[in-house]
């Protein structure tokens, strides 16, 4: 099951790239979810031992999925509201 753990690690890298480099805000939300599921996949695959996965990581992953979903919902709400106000879905580089 190492292949799943490696896949998880690669998903983290891929998602991180999107989270930081993408300009479209909804795209970054998607990328964040990819990083999250990559971390979870790594966690689960590393807890796999002789046909079963350690229940502690499983429980933590479920908690993590809920947390990630909550964050995504808030992020989507902010992205839509921001688009309604500014007419765009990018952040201007207002920080000096």
């Amino acid at each position: 099951m190492t292949v799943y753990a490696v896949t998880g690690a690669l998903l983290v890298a891929l998602g991180l790239y999107g989270l930081i480099a993408a300009r479209g805000l909804l795209r970054r939300v998607v990328a964040f979810n990819v990083v999250g599921s990559g971390v979870f996949l790594m966690f689960g695959a590393l807890g796999w031992y002789e046909g079963h996965t350690d229940p502690v990581p499983q429980a933590l992953i479920i908690t993590g999925i809920v947390v990630a979903l909550s964050a995504s919902a808030l992020a989507v709400g902010l992205v839509v509201a921001h688009a309604r106000v500014s007419g765009g879905q990018v952040l201007e580089d207002d920080a000096p």
Binding site: L19, L25, V35, L78, S86, E92
Partner: protein, 476 residues
Amino acid sequence: MTPLIALLALPLAGALMAVAVPHRGARIAGVVVVASAGALIMLVAQWGIPHAAPGGWGAPLGIMLEADGLALAFMAMVLAVMAGVCATAAPMRELPTPFWPLALLAWAALNAIFVSRDLFNLYVGLELLTLAAVALVATGGDKALAAALRYLIFALTGSILYLAGVVLVYSAHGVLDVSLLAATLPAPTDRVAMGLMTAGLLIKTALFPFHVWLPPAHAAAPAPASAMLSALVPKASFVILLRLWFEAMPDAADDRLLTALAVLGALAVGHGGIMALRQTRLKQIIAYSTVAQIGYLFLVFPLAGGDGAAQPWAAGAWTGAVFQALSHGLAKAAMFLCAGLWIIAVGSDRLEDLRGLARGLPMTAMAFALAAITLMGLPPSGGFTAKYLMMTTAFASGQVVWALVLAGGGLLAAAYLYRPMGALFAREIPAFTPVPRYLQAVPLVLALLAVGMGVLSDGLYAFLQLGRPGTAEEGL
């Protein structure tokens, strides 16, 4: 119910009630403040290290909670700030109703983080804090949306990196408890795990160069929310950093890495100070000042970590950093609350609009001045004690360069705080809307507490040593 559990359950229950009965939010928060104060006094009076094992399992199967001196001191600071925030926010009509449950949730998250000994539980606490904090920024209305989004993206990046590190820790050691981790043999993946967790927490703490989200977010939120965000929120991730580096995995420390952290801290002091000098709005100045003040905290790593951890002066540096975090919290909350009152009084936080306001609202000007003394690190404030402790360590351990950072940062702080002070005490008669005296007193109390920390530093110093990692006897 033990006082420790009460401190966790009260803000949580308050938040739930504030959702169920939204128009009573302020009153509920008031009750939580009073009850928490009672619980906290009981805890401090015990003068020990109370702990709890929810579910009765204990580590590694369950989660351990422990209120050592560090946790209690931070919870006390949070309580003081929250009391101030609630007092000033209660009469503010323009605050949206969701402010109250969000503020209480952030409070619950802070307390949960300070007492938690479990790396994953810390993650859940951090996320609760993040979502509540971002939502608090968003209560600032349409103009705050971009700042809230930027904050959220940075914070989510930080927490997911932290979580990746936690995953590696569990996979290598099979435990998540800080104390149990300290007792395990180091694993080759620990470096990567610590690197990821630290990077994530640095983003959350807004250390230079990950600070770009902080000034817009803290300046855009309504003033009571800003006070919480600037004074409290970055402290949570800093406390986790302390727990990681000084308690869970002190062996992973590497001198170069610790120095790198302090270099970033020094850059933050410089950059934050210079940027604060260039702002024209008070809230921006205060927000950039937070960037600079956070920088000091990271000097603790080379001063007390690595080889330094074995030295007698480690206690001084570690305690100094904690003093800095606590006194900055109180002073910064006082400043933001002042800014909020001045916005009520003159409708703006532009420095030119604040000219002469010290005549109109003398107590707030006094509070701002006292808070400024703390941020500059002048005696007899808590900021002075912090800098004194860190400086003596810097000299004792031969790391004079960090002493220069401390001194230079103090000068910069004096420079950027001189401008708002100059405006406030200008000889002009401003036109302003009066603000009730009891509201003016709130930031003054907070600022006095920040100064009082310095005056009464002996007792606090002794208290912080409760459960301090690798306790050393060396005192002031």
